[in-house]
Symmetry: D2
Subunit: 364 residues, 4 copies
């Protein structure tokens, strides 16, 4: 537990920020799938630090190496081990964290839980841990795309109070990647970038909302009652660093409607049963209904800031702390590939589960 | 998968709305704990239909029977099997659902997934499934209370646009149970009840937000990185019927703050390390920090309404549907014990996990 | 853990010997499968006490009730809950066990583990627990038979020193059921029955070996490296009461051959690749190879005997104990359906796993 | 599944024989335990090829690198990632296996299951996979030794027909390591070595039996009913390459006794309740009873031999095959640390499970 996610498509991540490296073992990838390190690298490059002026300047190329599970360019059905070495670790930036707890970070709780912690760069609580998720997510996306034509896209919907106009049903990856904040609304994107840069100058940080859509998901994925699709998506995304909230479809706003205005009427579009609206967000009763799956995630402002803050040291004495090290003034641009990856991991797992459990029966 | 929740404190629920009954098997309850059916019944009575004029009028006493795992009033450490028979099943109310899909309900997706469905009363997708959760939750709460002094309370924070003033740090069960809508703010509670009764008369339904607090949770519970405490709480609560959103601590609203105003400063209160604010909601880095755990859940307006709606029949032909049967015009009052139960199940599981994994080490 | 077995076809059993009853929840049964209580009952009748003069005389009809998961005679894909009430519980036979530990039984270890135990009839350690396994096994067998044509047969190969001549490749259920000891070699069967009756008269008990075969298992089932098919079969069967050993194919005897005489040469029989011999027992590298799967299980002589034995009481004082109650002088005849059931549970689980993990790929 | 073993002390192994390397991720190791790579290396050296004239001559130093989870020499409670690079891979030895199936090896079944296989050196089915098990086992042993004083020793009990005289209650690691076949009976050990050398010269191979003992295991470990200690030990050991049988305590031989001669009488030795004999092998009702745990495992003669054998090629045509490559003429000496490791993994997992589930209750 803890470091493993998924049941049939199952990943186990490992690694601390300043240790030998980080990585992931993927167990359950179907055999005979073409996989190259370059397609994994493409996704890691969207996640890596130093990719733009609004992300942390830690210089890591995050080069991935495939150690097992792929033979002559195809998956074997055996575990795929992926590793990224840590290179630009500057432990000296963290000397102060050896003896002081950063507010709203994981220093205190790791110490409380384990009685020991790696104080360098956040140790296991570092966002570097998500490298394994994004690498595995690249493979999960490929399975879903090849088998079902599924397309998963996330984008920055809001930074602080700046909300973008985006239609998740038609947004494209090109639009999302057209600017460094990964917001497809270019006017708002410009303002977001400005505000993030200002926050960096102020030694402060910003939060916001990432929205994501999964298109072409067939009806039938999801395992009621505890492993409902929205429950597993929620867990997956809430396990990302800095995530404080999750909603699907109409979410919190939908609670202000009445049932008669909230329900999604069914109709027959000639080819399949569809719904006229999509307040369900593509999921009903925990199972996909064939409409686009739409979710949103709240990311708090980054905890590590340069401004001076009140805290205590490890002996319980009052102290102040000014962040050093290289940090993201806003995690949202880099959270985009993380959210996409978590959705891909959940859907790939549920696809294999559904195939296993209901493979025969009505449709065979 | 699917019908099992938890790892060391693990429950498996079963049962359809109109079948022989519903129940739960609890595996992993520590031995030698005093358990009586009456304390389980107390919680079930808070969940049961017909408890007030604003809930469904289906008449079920929901009497629980303990079939195993308890001997001379104490747990054996073996599986505890609990069963509640279905009594007041009126299948005739559902004849129309045999051939038509209710909008925003699980009829269509269960059919799509399984190729077969129990059309009576929603089958497995019925809220009757949560009986097992609430029964098991009663035992989980007892473990937490006896071992750690943990207290878990949920209440209705909002119905549609009516928001209550409640301080989760001091709210009491008596206040929550003082009215039928389970909102501790009595002025707002009165208005909520009125609005719910009006919705019922209109053949419509309402949604809202349940908030919950867990007090006296010790620091150290939670298993990074995938089984972070907020991730498991999110999954647990998002698996409840009609839940569309989840947030912890500052949640979505917190994303509008900057890091310097959002972070929770540490201080030493003489006895232990605490935080001056609690925007973290009692969890940092996926691990409890000793502050109150505070979460909120969005529940959509009930899908089954009496108003006429557009839909299709099982052959794909256009149809209209007017709900029959006995339904809740607003699920929130009955969702309160469900949310409490899910929190208890997550915390009990994490308590046993933590005891297993870190039982020796720094604190022993 | 503990009371759950399987991953995609997953069962959870519950119940003590003298409690309210025993039962099982089956999660993961594919939908739309015809299931009747009578076909489950048929298997339970082969397991039940009092079925012949060489089994315990406890009078239990072991009538099974289906409480969920089956609708209009077909599985829904939701959990199937099966229950059997305890009827003929004679707790007075066990008063002595309240204060004394039976040698080689579970009394002492349950007390040591849990600090509490149900001393009536062995509590959870009673063979009544296997009712849930056999009931679930009946459904697992049906899935395997309908989907793949798999046939699973077990029989008594040896009682003490009496070894039967049986060819597992051709043995039939009729032959197995033709006598009360379930040994298809009728000459030896007669002697076995005599010896068992003599042991009963002596207040003693006998052990022996059950052998089993699974025919028509397709190549490809099994999940290396830890969930090899033989490893899962071994665990399944070693979890049965009184089982002390397990072997597959050539087993312990095969270790006396050299590699050149032990290896199974491959040949092409025109339709498929086969092996000329089957010392592998149908499994190579943890994966079925299409040959008959052949396993054997050692069952010790029943621990509860009427002869007077040395022991201690719960205060640690020396004591003597003479078994009372109604016990099997030899568990093997009733172990036959248990072994078959465990094999069916393992194979059904691996069939669904394989379908989930490799469903596409080379064969689709 | 498949490549993960354990629940609270959980390992995931990865790697093919001729790929980039092999490794293991250990999740659930308690924090603050001193761990060095040299103590892991000590165990790996007992497993590695080329250690003596009776093992394969593949030259691998099997140097282990700790990539995560250990900080300043102590475990963090986070995943421990261990890697061993493959060095001396000679793929040319396996060109023939690209097109032919080795009898009684995993070539055919991997192809049947996955539709693709790594034909170099057995790929994932290679014994190199066990490197991860032995490395993780070294840490599991340390936990057990430090927390409970548990000592786990395996030795070669039999090679073909040569059976050693060994008392598992007093055998020492020094005696076991005193010769290259790891049989503490030096006379028989000499004969075993001779026979193995002769088999190598003949291009043939031998099998035999490994016996193991775990001493100082406290009463109470084991999770009835499916995760009985003997069931988990059986699964663990049957998942080792070439293992065809498992027994605990009296095992198969015990089935020839009557109950009155087989039962282990209890007595009070002044300090604790003990049994006069140990036919139970230290486990009763699936739970340890405080006596030595004694198990035996049957290992077949190595499948890969140099003698010419009948087989088919991947097109189904008849063929002959003469093994090349460097192979063990008898796996037993190297199986000794593997068996010890699997026992350690099972016991460490059950120790943490027991601590989690029963940590409070009677003993606290």
């Amino acid at each position: 537990m803890g470091n493993t996610f998924g049941r049939l498509f199952r990943i186990t991540t490992w690694g601390e920020s300043h240790g030998g490296g980080v990585g992931v073992v993927i167990d359950g990838c179907p055999p005979d799938l073409e996989v190259t390190s370059s397609e994994i690298q493409t996704e890691l490059d969207r996640r890596r630090p130093g990719q733009s002026r609004i992300t942390t300047q830690r210089r890591e190329e995050d080069r991935v190496e495939i150690l097992s599970g792929v033979f002559e360019g195809r998956t074997l059905g055996t575990p795929i081990s992926l590793i990224v070495r840590n290179r630009d670790a500057r432990s000296r930036d963290y000397e102060e964290m050896r003896v002081k707890y950063r507010p709203s970070h994981a220093d205190f709780t790791y110490q409380a839980k384990y009685g020991i912690r790696d104080w360098q760069g956040g140790g296991r609580a570092s966002a570097r841990e998500t490298i394994g998720r994004v690498a595995a997510g690249a493979i999960a996306r490929k399975i879903l795309h090849q088998s079902l034509g599924v397309e998963i896209l996330a984008f920055v919907r809001r930074v602080r109070n700046l909300t973008a106009e985006v239609d998740p049903d038609v947004v494209s990856r090109d639009r999302i990647e057209s600017n460094i904040v990964r917001c497809p609304d270019s006017d708002i994107a410009g303002q977001m970038i400005e505000q993030i840069e200002q926050a960096r100058k102020d030694g402060d940080s910003l939060g916001g909302v990432v929205e994501a859509v999964a298109r072409n998901v067939p009806p039938g994925l999801g395992e009621p009652v505890f492993d409902k699709l929205e429950a597993d998506l929620g867990k997956a995304i809430l396990s990302l660093p800095a995530c404080k909230g999750f909603e699907v479809g109409s979410g919190f706003a939908g609670t202000k409607l009445t049932g008669s205005s909230h329900n999604d009427p069914f109709y027959n579009d000639g080819e399949r049963i569809r719904t006229r609206t999509n307040r369900s967000g593509g999921i009903q009763g925990g199972i996909s209904n064939g409409e686009n799956i739409v979710v949103r995630a709240a990311f708090k402002p980054t905890a590590t800031i340069l401004k001076t803050q009140e805290t205590v040291d490890i002996h319980g004495n009052p102290a102040t702390l000014s962040g050093r090290g290289r940090h993201d003034p806003c995690v949202l641009p880099r959270a985009v590939p993380m959210v996409e990856s978590m959705i891909a991991l959940v859907l790939a797992d549920h696809y294999l589960l559904h195939r296993g459990r209901c493979g025969t029966g009505h449709d065979g």
